[in-house]
Amino acid sequence: MDNLELPKETYKSIYKTMLRIRMVEEKIAELYPEQEMRCPVHLCIGQEAVAAGVCANLSRNDYVMSGHRSHGHYLAKGGDLKAMMAELYGKATGCCQGKGGSMHLVDLSAGFLGATPIVASTIPIAVGVAFGSMMRGQQRVTVIFFGDAAVEEGVFHESINFAVLKRLPVIFVCENNLYSVYSPLSVRQPEGREIVELAKGHGVESYQGDGNDVTQVYKMAEKAIRRARQGGGPTFLEFKTYRWREHCGPYYDNDLGYRTESEFQEWKQRCPIENLKKNLLRDDILCNQDIEDMASELEAEIEDAIIFAKESPFPEEQHLLEHIYAP
């Protein structure tokens, strides 16, 4: 989509969100080989438009949850960067005090209610959050992000059935990046059966879109979130996109042969950030200087966060047995 249909300010802020996610993750990739972030990391480089486009429609009071590949969702929802970086470094100042690592992020004050790495396992929890907030009479929307493998788990179907049954204010966002680790869709799901069709079977409003086109993402999410807020119940959104780097870890891995270099290059051409940038420049929404300023501002922020993370203390032995039970 080449038309910029959203307000300028929206684009500026979305662009910045995407760039921020990209730059944070590139920094993680750069530093990971130092072996100081001693936990698995699942980077979302290439997929930033989904997180940014969806979350731009949410207020702080709304809720977001996610799975193993959650950095982008956490940041797009306003999660604290320092706390995230410190968490990756296993520090006491991390968003989970070091007990969670990259695969378990949370920022309650930002409404990022938690991410955990069992495929599909946070889907029913997010539905429950929506159910709970509805019972409490709150006007909040819950968004749950997950991948294309998650729809193979039975619990996805159980969750969506319940959400439709109760008309819950929850948006299911499937980031279909064509792979589950090294496994293409073809060994996991019937050929020609689109994921969006699965959702439709449940009688839920369901749409499919280009996950690398942030305008499309934004507009589909906007409609869904508005419907949810008005009591119209859940929506399922499938966005096709692509992860650039290895499933887990900082490197590229197209050499492994599970996907082709040319497939990767095609998707790279469709970089959500580059493409938006081109259009923003074309339409004079941003100029080159703006973008450079943005980048250096972000660079400084990220540098700060890394220093914070590296300099923060580790948790102490006595913390091991803390927090087993809530008081």
Binding site: Y63, G94, C95, C96, Q97, G98, K99, G100, H104, V106, L108, L113, G114, T116, I118, S121, T122, I123, P124, I125, A126, V127, G128, V129, A130, F131, G132, S133, M135, R136, Q138, G154, V155, E158, S159, N161, F162, L165, E322, H323, I324, Y325, A326, P327
Partner: protein, 363 residues
């Protein structure tokens, strides 16, 4: 503040059945806290989960007392999520065997959230699970898997025996800020006991000496407490004084009460409703072996189900379930007395697949 509960030993006038005690605990908690709600297959149905949820939907409406789809796994996640949003859910599984579908949510998620998010999140959640028994429930409707849950950090595991404890422990469980596995034994539902009317609490993590004794400690769980008490009566006629401990909470375990008792008696029998190998009974034996070894006069012993699936036919069920006589035989052996007479008593003609003669099936 709520009134202090009347002591159990006081005025015993008001008696309730176990299922009524549970019902009353839920009822009172729903009255005093609008965030408490209950869901589960059949919760509002005409039989009301063996009576334990009868009348609640009429009183609190279908938003707080609800049926659910046959989706045990997701619905457990839904309960967890609703807890994150500030509710206090109670979810009911009519058989622990069905709850197996939900262990991923229970173990990976519910048990870990408080810890792995550095103490920020809490999940007040009661998971009621019924352990079946008898009348041909068979291998998939009568497993006793308390040992599984009691192995998992972050969970609390409760198995009340008396109506008094059922109510008091359920109130505590609903008020607790952690996931609590609340295990009810099918054969206890119609047992009767003193239950005060008001809200009272039996603390989680406290066992109870149900009968004092000096010669042997019988630490028992759930229905096996009743068998242990019967056994203690029988042993008393032989001059053996058995102390019966109702474990009540398997996790966190009241280690000191057990150790104290064994310190006095020097002998330990553990009677559990589950299987022998790797059962919760092994944890209690090990606790005592590690911590009170020098107190022990004899080897500690387990009285449990044998290590095989539940057979359906009553002909085999009669040999499957351990009873008071098995505890008696074990205790007599420990005391160096003969067990010949006891063993001959074991062959019984009483049907063991019903809790009492009022039970005529099918569930």
């Amino acid at each position: 503040m709520l009134r202090k509960p009347q002591e159990e030993s006081q005025i015993m006038s008001r008696e309730l059945k176990y299922f009524q005690a549970i019902n009353e605990a839920i009822d009172l908690c729903m009255t005093k806290d609008a965030t408490v709600y209950i869901m589960g297959l059949g919760v509002p149905d005409p039989k009301g989960i063996f009576g334990s949820t009868l009348g609640l939907q009429q009183k609190y409406g279908s938003a707080r007392v609800m049926d659910m789809p046959a989706s045990e796994n997701a619905m457990t996640g839904v309960a967890i999520g609703s807890a994150l949003a500030g509710m206090r859910p109670i979810i009911t599984h009519q058989r622990v065997d069905f709850a197996l579908l939900a262990v991923e949510q229970i173990v990976n998620q519910a048990a870990n959230w408080h810890y792995m998010f550095g103490g920020q999140m809490r999940i007040p959640l009661v998971l009621r699970m019924i352990i079946g028994r008898g009348w041909g429930q068979g291998p998939q409707h009568s497993q006793n898997l308390q040992a599984w849950f009691a192995h998992v950090p972050g969970l609390k595991v409760v198995m009340p025996t008396t109506p008094y404890d059922a109510k008091g422990l359920l109130v505590s469980s609903i008020e607790d800020n952690n996931p609590v596995i609340f295990i009810e034994h099918r054969w206890l539902y119609n047992t009767i006991g003193h239950v005060p009317e008001e809200v009272y609490r039996v603390p989680l993590g406290k066992a109870r000496v149900t009968r004092d004794g000096n010669d042997v400690t019988i630490a028992a769980t759930s229905y096996m407490v009743l068998e242990a008490l019967r056994a203690a009566e029988m042993l008393a006629t032989d001059g053996i004084s058995a102390e019966v401990i109702d474990i009540r909470t398997l996790r966190p375990l009241d280690e000191s009460l057990i150790l104290e008792s064994v310190g006095k008696t020097g002998r330990l029998i553990v009677a559990d409703t589950g299987w022998k190998t790797g059962g919760f009974s092994a944890e209690i034996v090990t606790l005592v072996a590690e911590e009170a070894f020098s107190d022990l006069k004899n080897c500690p012993m387990r009285v449990t189900l044998p290590d095989c699936p539940t057979p359906t036919t009553p002909a085999l069920a009669n040999h499957y379930y351990p009873r008071a006589v098995h505890i008696v035989a074990t205790a007599r052996k420990m005391m160096g007395l003969s067990v010949d007479k006891i063993v001959s008593d074991m062959a019984t003609s009483v049907p063991l697949d019903v809790p009492d003669l009022s039970f005529t099936g099918p569930f």
